[in-house]
């Protein structure tokens, strides 16, 4: 949570205040969640000593906002085969793209020009490679420029996003990727950041792009200022994280450096997002330059979060990570990444396991789903291939099909996580199928690898097709990437079934259990500081200049940890070492009586005392409870967690529990009932809840309970009244009888059989017929349709069993009917 005013950063760059995605914490901001870039800067990370290069159409190295950070050693012109990556200028300025991307990463700060780059102290270069024939050789050369010098390669291009292309890196470019991650950065691995496809309008799917689909690249997507899906966005299972970018015409624009030393707000699409992530990774590399290429991906998975990004398919995977096909693991958190990076321990080595390989060809039935499963132990028998905790999962597939765009492919992990590897692409009419195409998903990140995997291939024709020409799944292989040990402890506590994110939260114990976290707090060594005696050490000089924070007792040396007492506060303990400070750091408060920095309660970032109810702000992962001034991991009953401000806000007074908003109740207090997400008053019998007047009003006098005032709005009737045509009546009308309906407490008037005036017990048990009908047994028959001959004659007919004969039935209708 960024608090404005006291802690806001000011730059004199003219567009700084318009960089809305840096100021989401401000009061009037429309973006509700922060990428926390300024917070990362406040921790001291600005990309110093990190080298980023932009693979594109060149970079204007003398642009006033780029010149200071431009690095010629991180640059090359592959198209022109020289060392100057300056773009080719023409009337249309078509080669502006690289310069625009570069500004986002490392435009200088406080130079009174244009914008501020995310890593404004990083070195920025450009590799000109798009302004000419792009071949496999060109790509491979570009991806392999000085891998031991350049840390991060950012690329905002790819195969055509026309919704019908399937293309990716060629043999050489793939080898360049592999070389980069193995040997680049002195063996730590080059970082490749890639913008995901812009073919949203064309119904494209970015798993048909082999660059974003690669395990070696960090595929980045975009969201708009309001957290909506941009029109250009493609979804797929390989997207890792998201940043803000351009959206609809009324939403915030992205401003950056432009060709001819200008500034532009015309930079759009996922091209914005890849450089942003490149800049944020640069901050992380400054915090910890020993991060490997996989560490960086783990950090993104761990720290990115859904925030308020709107997607219908947010789910929690089996490892507890929230993920969606639009946004990957969610909005990046620059501060979160640098904090985690600082203390990060490298993840265990990557294992690769071909968990399953099935070469049996199978027909894909039209308008049906072909489902095939593979049970695997994830190479448990081979210690150097064994995968226990997943990272990337790749499915290599060969399919022949008359119209490729009709295909949809899913993969379901043992934990139940369903990844959409391919969606239907209506514009793809190709009959090329897929030949050993590798689909990749990150949705199973952290899950256990062992178990049953299911591949589903659906053929859903978008147009009429020859039913005899069916697709065929020729072969498929399941390739698992991951580690044999868990990368960090939190994985082991989150193995569960994948689930869609639920709106309602489970009922909490009131107050205390949720309020106070039960973890054992580290005790601080609280012994009083005492200066070491100088008796017997007559040669210790006390005439040198002490540190400015030292008090009147002097010092043993010039540093802050050599003071004998402090002017303001002392920080630390005898065990860890003490030093004098002006202001206590985050997590501590200044005790003015003892002149010491004392630790805040766990969860507090700033506080005025040690107690749990003396917090002023909270650390990451905690919510601030304003009324109690505490920091909690879960808000107590009657409060909900506000994700944007990280506060516990009060629910509506009628709610016992709510989510996201005060009015969105999930559990009501006693005396209230849940109706359409709101808690309404339980009204007494004989009354109903009037939502307009917001009070209980009387039912009609004949109703015991009702939904409105009218006599036709009864639910139950008062004693001895029965429901008849939605009204409560004292007795049933003619033609109806008093009936008990199974499962329904209320007695109702049910209709008698046709032509019956009164019936009893059941509709068929008529006791009186209407005029013109006579009662024969329990049935009413029209007088003129059933007549009898002489009584004695008919009795003879009956006793001689002659009623079976039609002639006698007609002569003695009544007698025969009565005889059955």
């Amino acid at each position: 949570h960024v608090r404005s005013d006291a802690h806001s950063i000011y730059f004199n760059d003219p567009i700084w205040s318009n960089m809305w995605y840096m100021h989401c914490g401000d009061k009037h901001s429309r973006c509700r969640s922060e990428m926390n870039v300024p917070a990362a800067w406040k921790r001291g990370y600005t990309g110093k000593n990190v080298v980023v290069t932009i693979l594109d159409d060149g970079i204007e190295r003398n642009h006033p906002d780029l010149a200071a950070n431009y690095d010629a050693y991180a640059s090359y012109d592959v198209n022109g085969n020289d060392y100057d990556p300056s773009p080719r200028y023409d009337a249309s300025n078509e080669n502006k793209h690289g310069t625009r991307c570069a500004g986002e990463v490392a435009a200088s700060a406080n130079n009174s020009y244009c914008i501020v780059g995310i890593a404004y102290n990083a070195k920025i270069g450009g590799i000109r490679m798009l302004d000419g024939d792009v071949t496999d050789v060109v790509e491979a050369k570009s991806l392999g420029i000085r891998p031991n010098y350049i840390d991060i390669y950012s690329a905002s291009w790819g195969p055509d996003d026309d919704g019908k292309t399937v293309d990716g890196p060629g043999r050489l470019a793939k080898q360049a990727f592999e070389y980069g991650i193995k040997k680049g950065r002195q063996g730590l691995g080059s970082i490749f950041v890639w913008a995901s496809g812009n073919g949203g309008r064309e119904g494209d799917y970015c798993s048909c792009d082999g660059y974003t689909n690669s395990i070696y690249t960090i595929s980045v997507s975009s969201t708009t200022e309001n957290g909506y899906k941009p029109w250009y966005l493609e979804e797929c299972a390989s997207t890792l994280a998201t940043t803000y970018s351009s959206g609809a015409f009324y939403e915030g624009k992205i401003v950056t450096t432009d060709l001819r030393q200008r500034c532009t707000d015309g930079h759009t699409g996922t091209s914005v997002s890849a450089p942003m992530v490149a800049g944020i990774i640069a901050l992380a590399l400054e915090a910890n330059n020993q991060l490997t290429w996989r560490d960086v991906q783990h950090l993104l998975v761990k720290t990115s979060r859904p925030a308020h990004l709107k997607a219908s398919d947010w789910k929690v995977n089996g490892a507890g990570h929230k993920v969606s096909h639009l946004y990957g693991f969610g909005l990046v958190d620059a501060e979160g990444i640098v904090v985690e990076a600082k203390k990060w321990k490298a993840v265990p080595s990557q294992h690769m396991c071909v968990a399953a390989s099935d070469k049996r060809p199978r027909i894909i039935p039209i308008e049906q789903t072909l489902r095939t499963t593979a049970l695997t132990n994830a190479c448990a028998d081979h210690f150097d291939q064994r995968v226990v905790f997943l990272e990337h999962v790749v499915v290599r597939i060969s399919i022949s099909h008359p119209r490729r765009g009709d295909l949809q492919i899913h993969l379901i992990s043992p934990s139940g996580t369903k990844s959409q590897l391919l969606a239907r692409r209506l514009l793809d009419h190709s009959n090329d199928g897929f030949t050993n195409w590798e689909f990749m998903t990150v949705h199973c990140w952290g899950e256990k690898a062992e178990g049953e995997w299911t591949l589903e291939v659906h053929d859903i024709p978008s147009q009429v097709r020859n039913p005899e020409k069916q697709g065929k799944l020729k072969e498929w292989s399941l390739i698992l990437y991951g580690t044999a040990e868990h990368p960090y402890n939190t994985f082991s506590s989150h193995q569960s079934r994948s689930r869609m994110l639920e709106i309602s939260t489970p009922e909490l114990e009131p107050s205390k259990a949720a309020l106070f976290h039960k973890q054992v707090e580290a005790t601080e060594d609280e012994e009083d500081y005492s200066a070491p005696s100088i008796q017997g050490s007559p040669n210790i000089l006390q005439t040198s200049v002490c540190h400015p924070e030292c008090g009147d007792k002097g010092c043993d040396g010039p540093k802050a940890d050599q003071c004998l007492n402090c002017i303001h506060y002392s920080l630390g303990s005898i065990k860890t070492g003490r030093k004098c400070v002006n202001i206590c750091p985050l997590g501590y408060f200044g005790d003015s009586i003892s002149k010491r920095c004392r630790r805040c309660s766990r969860g507090c970032e700033t506080c005025i005392g040690r107690s749990q109810n003396q917090c002023l702000s909270c650390r990451r992962g905690f919510y601030y409870h304003q009324e109690l001034n505490t920091c909690v991991t879960l808000c107590p009953a009657g409060f909900y967690e506000d994700e944007s401000q990280k506060y516990c806000f009060k629910c509506h007074p009628n709610c016992k529990k709510c989510v996201d908003e005060p009015e969105k109740c999930t559990i009501c207090k006693e005396g209230f009932s849940l109706a359409g997400g709101s808690c309404i008053l339980d009204c007494a019998p004989g009354t109903y809840f009037n939502s307009e007047l917001i009070k209980c009003e009387k039912c009609h006098s004949t109703c015991q309970t009702c939904v409105g005032p009218g006599k036709e709005e009864c639910i139950y009737c008062v004693n001895n009244f029965k429901i008849h045509e939605k009204k409560c009546v004292p007795g049933c009308n003619e033609g109806f009888y008093f009936a008990k309906v199974p499962g329904f407490l209320q007695k109702v008037c049910a209709r008698c059989e046709e032509n019956c005036l009164h019936c009893e017990g059941s509709s068929k048990n008529c006791v009186k017929c209407k005029a013109g009908f006579m009662l024969v047994g329990n049935t009413c028959i029209a007088n003129d349709t059933c007549s009898n001959a002489a009584e004695m004659f008919c009795e003879m007919v009956k006793s001689n069993n002659l009623c079976e004969r039609k002639l006698f039935t007609q002569l003695c209708c009544r007698t025969c009917l009565l005889a059955g």
Binding site: D133, G144, S156, W157, P159, D161, L172, A176, Y179
Partner: protein, 86 residues
């Protein structure tokens, strides 16, 4: 209709034996060796001035002999890839 593949007069060639051997192979078959492709050991960028610069037909002729050279493990005429800025 699919856009036709456009071939160039640039080739990627895998040659065993180091840069000197790559130079020999290139000049023996009328190519110019533009050097190793990035960091990819044994992969070299060859250029042939006699091939059509941009053609929708893959080249025949000299490269067949190049392919038969015992030091050449693999070769590929470079195709222009359609790449869009995002």
């Amino acid at each position: 209709l699919r856009s036709p593949t456009v071939y160039t007069n640039h080739w990627a060639v895998e040659v065993l034996g180091g840069p000197a051997e790559a130079d020999r192979v290139a000049s023996a078959h009328g190519y110019l060796n533009l050097g190793q492709i990035g960091n990819l050991e044994n992969y070299y960028h060859f250029y042939h001035s006699k091939t059509f610069k941009r053609s929708t037909f893959s080249s025949r002729g000299t490269h067949t002999f190049l392919r038969m050279d015992p030091k050449v493990k693999w070769l590929q005429q470079q195709e222009v890839k359609r790449r869009v800025k995002r």
